[in-house]
Every structure is written in C-alpha cells, then in structure tokens.
C-alpha cells in the first residue's frame, strides 16, 4: 500500500494499512520510529542499571555481556516476528500465549509484562529521586531526601495516565532529543580520541572474577535492550508487515549497541570498576568527574527526562496489560473498567501505584532492576517454547504466515540456552530474589488454575480463524 497523508479521515485516503497490504520499509522505519527505538523505549538503560554488570565481572565482562545479550535479542526478534506477523489479534505475547499455549500461559505472560514494567517504573523513580537528592546536596540543600521525590514521581505520572492528559509532540521531541543528545555531547566532551580525560589503560583491569564474572554480568547485560521486543507493534486490523518487523527490531538493537558501547567507553575510562559497578547514575557521575557544569547540568536533565519518559511508558503498558487480564477475567473483571470521562483503565492504574511504591521505597535499585529483568527473562523463556509449539500445531503451509524466520529451531535453542545461562547468572548474584520471584509465579499460577480459571470465558480465548491444530 502507498501511504498517502490525508487531512480527512474515514475516506479512502486515510493513512491506514488494511489486511496485509504491503507497507513500505520507509514507513515502518521512519525517523520517529528510529528515535523511538533508540530513545523512547530503552535508552533509559544507558542512564542507569547497565553498570551493575561492571560490578559483577569488571569492565570487559560488562561489554561481553552487552554483546552476548545482543545475540539473545536477535533470537527474540526473529521468533517474535514470525509469531506476531501471524497472530493478527492485537496484544503481543499475551495474545500469542492465548492462541498457542493456553490460558495459564497467557495469565503468566500477562503477569510477566505487568511486573517487568512496574518494577522498571519503580527503578526509574528511584533514579530520579536519587538524582534530585544528589543535585540538591550539591546546591547546598543538604537535607534533601530522595523518598518524597520517588513518591511524587510515581503519583504524578500515575495521575497523568489516569487523566489521559498526554504530552504533546513538540514536548516529547524536545525532551527525548535532549536525553539522546546529552550522551553524544558527553562522549565528545570527554575527547575520546585522546588520553587527556579518559584513562582506560589505568582503569580497565581485565576480568577480576574470571569467566564466571562474565556469566554473572549477563544478568544486567539484558538491561541494555529490555523491552525492545515491544517495538513489534501491530496496527489494528493489519497483519504486521512481514520482513520489516525483524529489520526494525534489529535496527533498534544496532542503535542501542552503539549507544551502549559509547556509554561503556566513557564510563570505564573515568571511573574504577569497583565504583562504577554500584553507581545509581553512572552517566551523571561521569559528567561530574569532568568538572564541567555544562555537562553536569546536561546529563542531569537527560537522566531525569529519560527516566520520566520511561516511567510514563511503563505505567501505560503495565496498566493496559492488567486491564486486558481483567477483561479476559484472568483477574477480577472490575479491573477491566474504562473511565467514563477520560477513557483510561483507571482502576488498573490506581491498583498498580502502591505496588510500584512498595518496591521503589523498600528495595535498592539493583534488586528492583533484577525483579524487572527476571520477569522479562521469563517472557523470553516463553518465546522458544511458544514457537516450537506453534510450528508443531500449525506446521508451515497450514496457515498463512507474514514472516517465516530462518534456521528453525536453532534460534529457539540458542534463546533457550542463553535464558538458562542468564538464570544461572541471576542465581549467582541474586539467588534469594530468583527464588522469591519463582515462588510468586508458582503461587499465582496455582491460584489461577485452581480458583480463577472457572471465571474465564474459555470460548473467547481463541479468536484466530485457523484450522484445528495438528494432533487435536
């Protein structure tokens, strides 16, 4: 289809793709999309969180983990693109689970999404609060505490989402551009072509914990990309455009890989790995070390903007996932209500606020991030199982696929292997959190299977016009 801009809608010229008509790559990967991939969704991972990988295995281990996680996400992009382009029902992995595995899996995938986004929101609020406390202290306000700002951040963004008062395009472009440009400015401000400011030779110390440290670092290596699979957004009534999906995600990953490598390069050249590995705001700290007020203010603004933007997206996505579970009666239908005036899932938004507050106020940043990563990791573990079942139940040729990923089942096996290694990595540093999270999901699954499932409208779960799966 040729995308024709139009000022009127409803007519033939409206910009909408209908029923599998081709959409050009240019349309899919427009400037806004590329910005979004790099900035709006996961760039916050450059401003905080990634550096815990340095603490696990040193600077070199963090870089290896970053690139290995890139391989994991390549598999995610390939697998997710095939299933998303075939399951036309909107709803991402949640809808895929409903159609391919079953309600219990869909319930868990919904929970993974809610927990991953809510924990990320809490992590963003912690970072914003810490940053304000730090800058307040530098400005002479020694008594500034981070907790009120954490609460304020979560409540204010939840209120905005409740009201559905969305920021405007200019505002968005300005704040995301500032966040993105701040990394570029920092990079060139530190003169990476000379040893004047950066001291890699003195500060990079190999692998302090050996190869075990590299495996341990893989846990936080995922942080660079967490959520990028969300870019496979479907349009209403349209099969997601085939090959553009993996290409779009891969382009985003390359953007992030470059940004991540730049971030890593400037930070490890400025700070000893022992400090960097536990910093809350590594880029802002890097700017402080330059003694440049301009860079410091710029990185302060960039960090604040990226965390707020990310937290806003998290509240949006978590509440929609919870809302969908309410609509499907996986959770009480009460959560499936829409505000009569603002048309937002207001009950879901309000319900998730105290959960975000409990984690933001009660747990340190690395643990909150670990909870988020674990939920994301569980979602990635679902993908290989999902695609193997998908190919077995509906082999190639039995239904129309928008995209067929190559080398099946190799990507699924590699993804499963990398997920298994990452679980081990989490176990090495955060065994208690790993066990707690698993117990939570097992108890929740038991509650669903033995209690909640009787309320689910089983006939409504499968909406795709596919033939009966093989073997049924």
């Amino acid at each position: 289809m040729t995308a024709v801009p139009s000022d009127t809608a409803g007519g033939k010229s409206a910009v909408t793709a209908i029923h599998g008509e081709k959409i050009s790559l240019l349309r899919i990967l427009g400037p806004g999309h590329v910005w979004a991939l790099g900035v709006g969704i996961v760039l916050v991972g450059e401003f905080m969180g990634w550096n815990f990988a340095v603490g696990k295995g040193g600077a070199i281990a963090a870089l290896i983990a970053c690139w290995t996680a890139g391989l994991l996400y390549t598999c995610v992009a390939m697998i997710d693109s095939e299933v998303t382009s075939t399951v036309a029902a909107a709803g991402g992995q949640y809808a895929q689970a409903k159609h391919i595995v079953g309600p219990l899996m869909a319930f868990n995938v919904g929970l993974f999404l809610v927990m991953a986004y809510t924990m990320l929101e809490a992590g963003n609020a912690i970072t914003a609060g810490y940053l304000i406390q730090t800058v307040g202290g530098m400005a002479g306000f020694e008594g500034v505490h981070d907790k009120p700002f954490i609460v304020l951040t979560i409540l204010a963004l939840a209120w905005l989402n409740y009201r559905g008062v969305y920021a405007t395009l200019t505002f968005n472009l300005v704040i995301t551009a500032i966040a993105f440009v701040s990394i570029i400015v920092l990079f060139f401000g530190l003169k990476p072509w000379s040893n004047e400011v950066l001291h890699h030779r003195e500060l990079i110390s190999g692998l302090p914990y050996g190869w075990l440290g590299v495996i341990a670092a893989l846990h936080f290596g995922l942080w660079f990309y967490l959520g990028i699979e969300g870019t496979t957004q479907a349009a209403e009534e349209v099969r997601s455009p085939a090959r553009s999906l993996p290409l779009g995600t891969m382009l985003g990953m390359i953007t992030l890989l470059i940004a991540a490598t730049m971030t890593w390069y400037v930070c490890v050249g400025l700070m000893p790995w022992e400090y960097l590995g536990q910093a809350i705001t590594p880029l802002f700290d890097a700017a402080r070390l330059t003694d440049s007020t301009f860079l410091m203010v710029f990185l302060f603004v960039g960090t604040i903007f990226s965390t707020l933007a990310s937290a806003n997206g998290c509240i949006n996505d978590a509440s929609r996932a919870w809302f969908s579970m309410g609509r499907d009666r996986y959770m009480p239908a009460w959560f499936g209500a829409v505000h009569p005036k603002y048309r937002t899932p207001f009950r879901s938004i309000v319900f998730l606020v105290p959960i975000a507050l409990i984690f933001a106020l009660g747990a340190p940043l690395d643990q909150v991030i670990t909870f988020s990563i674990l939920s994301g990791l569980l979602g990635y573990t679902f993908m290989p199982i999902n695609v193997v079942m998908f190919r077995r139940k509906w082999p190639l040729g039995t239904i129309k696929r928008g995209y067929v990923h190559p080398f099946h089942p190799l990507p699924a096996l590699v993804l499963l292997l990398l997920c298994a290694v990452t679980y081990f990595a989490v176990f090495l540093g955060y065994g208690t959190q790993l066990v707690a999270m698993m117990v939570f999901y097992i108890v929740a699954s038991a509650w669903f299977a033995f209690h909640r499932y009787k309320y689910v409208r089983r006939g409504d779960q499968f909406t795709m016009p596919w033939p009966k799966p093989r073997g049924y």
Partner: protein, 239 residues
C-alpha cells in the same frame, strides 16, 4: 556560582518547555473539538458535545431519524497502535426480540463493544470475515442474525468496520477513522492522529448502510435517508 547559574538556566529551560507543551496541548484539544464540524451541517437539530478528552459527540437527525456520532479514542490494547473509532448510531426502534453484535478481530480489550454485554455466542454466517465474534442477548438472536446477515456482511466488507450491532433501540456501526502515529506512540505512548476533520462522505456512507440494515428488519422503511438530505461529493466505494 556556576552551579546556581546552571540550575537557573535549567529551570528557565524547563519552564519554557512546559509553556510550549501547555500551548500545544491547548491547540490539540482545540483541534480535536473540531473533528466533527464538517459533519454538523448534514444534521437537522444538531447538537455538539465534547468529552473530557476533547473528542466530540454529535446528536441530531438525518432524514428524520435520530442519529448519534461519537469519536472514541482507544489505546487499551497492549502492543497495538492507538485507534480512533467513529461510532454511528441510528436510534430508531427496530422490532427484534433479541439484540446482537458482530465484532471483527476481537482482542478482548474492546471496551466500546456491545459483545461484552451479550452472552450467547452465535455461529459466524458465511460471508462474514473469518475472525468475527457474533454474540446475541439470547439464543433467539439467531433469527435476527439470519434476517440481517446480508446487510451486515455488506457493512463488514469494508475492512475498517469494527463492529455492527442491532438492538431493539436501533442499529450501530463502528468504523476506524484513524490510526495513531507509530513514532509518537513508541516514543512516549502518545495517541496522535493525523486527522483534522472526519470525512462527511464516509459518515453518510455509514449512515446509509445503517438505513439499509434497518430496512432489512422493518419492511416498508426506506433503505436510504430522505432524498432531500444534504449532498456530499460522490466517493469511490472501497473494493
């Protein structure tokens, strides 16, 4: 001193950005409020109202029959771009014992759909899109479905039509008006639509289809609004 200057500049910058955001917010709300202005002259006794989000609702009569148009922004489904729906309702009683609704490509999150209130799932007739959900108020809706199936199938041939519903109070169709810009949604979950005015021709086409649907249920009723209805430029029909 330089830190204080930096903080002052940051504050000024933030205030500037906030000011720009406020002005643009007002401009967007004002633009939303005008979305149905071009449709208004086609109505008799027209009355325009606006929701809390600024999107308009238009009440009035076409061809002597009560018609309501509502614009519904929808960004409830995860991993999907925001949608702007136009709901057109012909509020004239029809002699059916049971209501029914046909929803195309259901995701479960269609808060605006009547299917959520009906509990009898009916068999999808031939000629409907494969991914349809047909629900009736009672199993008796099967008879109603048999009567309206050809007219509903004609409506659903337009792939932008999301739902068609028949109840004793009237008939309704929901059609896609616009889809949110991908970049804006991915950036910060914004629902920005490239539309400044709903096409009156598309609206009247939907009203015509609803009159045809009603005519299938009420023999003797015209399948078109009164012939003296305001004319709009002819539009090419979708294949």
């Amino acid at each position: 001193m330089s830190l204080i200057l930096g903080c002052a500049l940051t504050g000024a910058g933030l205030a500037l950005v906030a000011g720009v955001a406020h002005l643009e917010q007002r401009r967007i709300r004002s633009r939303r409020r005008k979305l149905l202005d071009a449709c208004r002259p086609l109505f008799e006794e027209a009355r325009l109202e606006h929701g809390g989000d600024g999107f308009p609702r238009l009440y009035g009569r076409i061809g002597g029959s009560r018609v309501t148009i509502e614009l519904i922004p929808d960004m409830m489904t995860i991993r999907r771009l925001p949608q702007l729906w136009m709901s057109v309702t012909l509020l004239e009683p029809v002699p059916v014992e049971s209501g029914l609704a046909v929803l195309v490509r259901p995701s479960g999150a269609e808060f605006f759909s009547l299917t959520q209130h009906f509990h009898a799932t009916l068999r999808v007739p031939n000629g409907f899109p494969e991914a349809s959900l047909v629900r009736g108020q009672s199993p008796g809706a099967t008879k109603v479905l048999a009567t309206v199936a050809p007219a509903v199938a004609t409506l659903l041939a337009d792939p932008k039509v999301k739902e068609v519903a028949v109840t004793p109070n009237g008939v309704r169709a929901i059609r896609q008006v616009a889809e949110g810009r991908r970049g804006d949604y991915l950036l910060l979950r914004q629902s920005a639509f490239d539309v400044v005015s709903v096409d009156p021709g598309a609206m009247l086409e939907l009203v015509d289809s609803l009159f045809s649907l009603r005519a299938a249920l009420v023999p003797g009723k015209s399948a078109k609004p009164t012939p003296d209805r305001p004319s709009v430029p002819p539009r090419e029909r979708r294949p």
